[in-house]
């Protein structure tokens, strides 16, 4: 693709210095837990990366993921990297609409067949394809059609990665994740509701420079989803000391103590929130005083309630326990009476025997 501008040239035109670029590569290597020796390789790969065509498909989603990624602070290098890709189709961000927009997608697919990257946000309804269509094309058809020529797919957000809110019980649309439909392409899951912008751009940068990152068993890049929030949380010392907030306005909450008892899912949630944080490293939900909802995990909507601690049973055990006490008492009385009746019967049937009787029988 000689006619396409390389990232190096784009950086020049955007006034990004070499020093700033190398710093970015170093921080990228650091955040992705790569060896410092990888920094020059990332730099070289990124500098020589052509503008990769990206087709962004938005299905059953709330646009929160797009909202998040557009909040990467311009003119940061992350923004630069994002600008350096050729976003050929994104129906929220592109100017064209209707058939013109679809034509852009088809054109990009044809021109970059086998090389383009598909980014998906939103789940796909399979109960009735009519639940979600774009220009009369069902999400299912559009995904299959577009994925056919893709080099790889990035499922951005928990809806695309695991079904998300659409998949939550009772799942009226039969919503499924991308990985439930596409089986023959590499899929990188970047879950979160929404994912952290730098994680999204970091994954894209990794894909451009070093290819598909190492993924965990849930298809997430290990670099960003390797640790539980609980293990990196700045409130962790309070957990260890046994200091907890019991309400959102009690002394513990004001002191900034651990939010476990308010339902925090940090111990079972793998994400980079506690380290990378949000809004250019300003804060993250737990720092803002709200327990982690576990939004990077499959089925987080149905995982026993956002404000229920992980150690608390999720079922209707109180009512069942009371019923068991009543049932147990009734069974105990019945069992006791039965034993008494058996005893009385045995006493009644008891025949006394004396020495003469024994002599007779022998």
């Amino acid at each position: 693709m000689p006619n396409k501008p390389m990232l190096k040239d784009l950086m020049k035109t955007h006034g990004v210095s070499r020093r700033a670029f190398m710093k970015y590569c170093a921080s990228l290597a650091s955040v992705m837990a790569l060896s410092p020796a990888m920094v020059p390789r990332i730099a070289e790969a990124l500098e020589n990366a052509p503008r990769t065509s990206v087709i962004w498909l938005s299905f059953q989603e709330c646009t929160g993921c797009t909202e998040a990624i557009t909040r990467s602070h311009a003119p940061t290098i992350e923004d630069m990297i994002f600008n350096a890709i050729s976003l050929d189709y994104h129906h929220t961000l592109q100017a064209a609409s209707g058939h013109a927009a679809e034509e852009a997608r088809e054109h990009a697919m044809k021109e970059h067949w086998g090389e383009y990257l598909v980014v998906v946000d939103g789940s796909i309804p399979i109960k009735d394809p009519g639940y979600s269509t774009i220009a009369g094309i069902s999400n299912l058809d559009m995904l299959k059609d577009t994925a056919a020529g893709a080099a790889a797919i990035v499922s951005v957000g928990t809806c695309a990665a695991y079904g998300g809110v659409g998949h939550a019980d009772p799942n009226p649309t039969g919503a499924v994740a991308v990985s439930e439909i596409i089986k023959d392409k590499p899929i990188i899951n970047v879950p979160g509701c929404p994912p952290i912008p730098v994680v999204m751009t970091g994954v894209l940068a990794h894909f451009l420079s070093l290819g598909i990152p190492e993924l965990d068993e849930l298809g997430r890049p290990k670099a960003f989803f390797g640790n539980a929030i609980h293990d990196r949380c700045y409130r962790r010392p309070f957990y260890d000391k046994g200091l907890f907030a019991n309400g959102f306005d009690d002394e513990g909450a004001k002191e900034g103590w651990c939010l476990y008892k308010l339902g925090c899912k940090g111990p079972t949630t793998k994400a980079a929130c506690a380290t990378v944080k949000w809004n250019n490293g300003v804060s993250f939900p737990i720092e803002a005083g709200h327990p982690c909802l576990g939004c990077t995990e499959p089925d987080f909507w149905d995982n026993g309630g956002f404000y229920k601690p992980l150690s608390v049973p999720s079922g209707d055990y109180r009512r069942l326990g009371l019923a068991a006490v009543a049932g147990g008492a009734a069974a105990g009385v019945a069992g006791g009476l039965l034993a008494k009746a058996t005893k009385a019967k045995a006493a009644k049937a008891h025949e006394t025997v004396d020495a003469h009787d024994l002599e007779k029988s022998s």
């Binding site: 990665a161 849930l218 046994g242 019991n246 499959p298 089925d299 079922g315 069942l320 105990g332 008494k340």
Partner: protein, 221 residues
């Protein structure tokens, strides 16, 4: 795509816990009520002492060992104390457990630090190992040991081991270990009414009964 470890945790703290709590509560009440309904034959003789007072006193007095027996069976007594106290500390003063009581009964108390909880857990486990050792090393104790004893020993150790491993992330996926921890507790709850674990409830009745017999005879229990 599912997180199988979390799904297992959800099953353990959902339907599995519901089943366990039904068997646990229903079983305890069934056995206690049955014992009470069966009753004892009324003793028509006038008591020589104070049966009720002696009964109540015995409930508490038998918590301390009879004179000389600590020296006779030190591991059984000291190990027994360490295990029970350690288990109680880990059970009642670890904040995630307190959250469970708060949800069930609406009452709460301050949790203790991790160092104390984990120290108590480790000591309780060491005590269990010592108790197991005395049980199998002494031929008399070994011959008296039944299948029930081994099962109860294992079921008491598993929540301590899995809880310690899950919190400290010693091995395995922490969410999976947490699921195993809840499942091990469920197993303990299910076995409780039908094994000697029932002593945690019936010890009061048994001690009171023994105390009243002595009191009735005019003896000190």
């Amino acid at each position: 795509m599912n997180n199988e470890a979390f799904d297992l945790l959800m099953w353990a703290r959902g339907p599995a816990f519901d089943i366990a709590i039904i068997i646990f509560l229903g079983g305890i009440v069934l056995r206690v009520v049955e014992i009470l309904v069966l009753g004892r034959k009324k003793d028509m003789a006038p008591p020589k002492g104070n049966p009720v007072g002696q009964g109540i006193r015995t409930v508490f007095s038998r918590t301390s060992p009879p004179e000389g027996l600590v020296k006779f069976a030190p591991i059984t007594y000291i190990g027994g104390y360490i295990f029970h106290i350690g288990f109680f500390i880990a059970f009642f003063f670890f904040a995630p457990h307190i959250a469970l009581f708060e949800d069930a009964f609406g009452i709460s108390w301050p949790g203790w630090g991790r160092a104390i909880i984990e120290g108590a857990t480790a000591l309780a486990l060491l005590a269990l190992i010592a108790l197991f050792y005395t049980r199998i090393s002494d031929p008399i104790r070994r011959s008296l040991t039944t299948f029930d004893d081994y099962i109860v020993l294992i079921l008491s150790a598993l929540p301590l081991i899995t809880g310690y491993v899950a919190v400290n992330k010693l091995f395995g996926d922490p969410t999976f270990m947490m699921a195993l921890h809840v499942l091990s507790v469920n197993a303990l709850l299910i076995a409780f009414p039908f094994t000697k674990l029932m002593h945690a409830v019936t010890f009061v009745m048994a001690r009171y009964y023994n105390g009243t017999i002595q009191g009735r005879k005019g003896a000190e229990s």
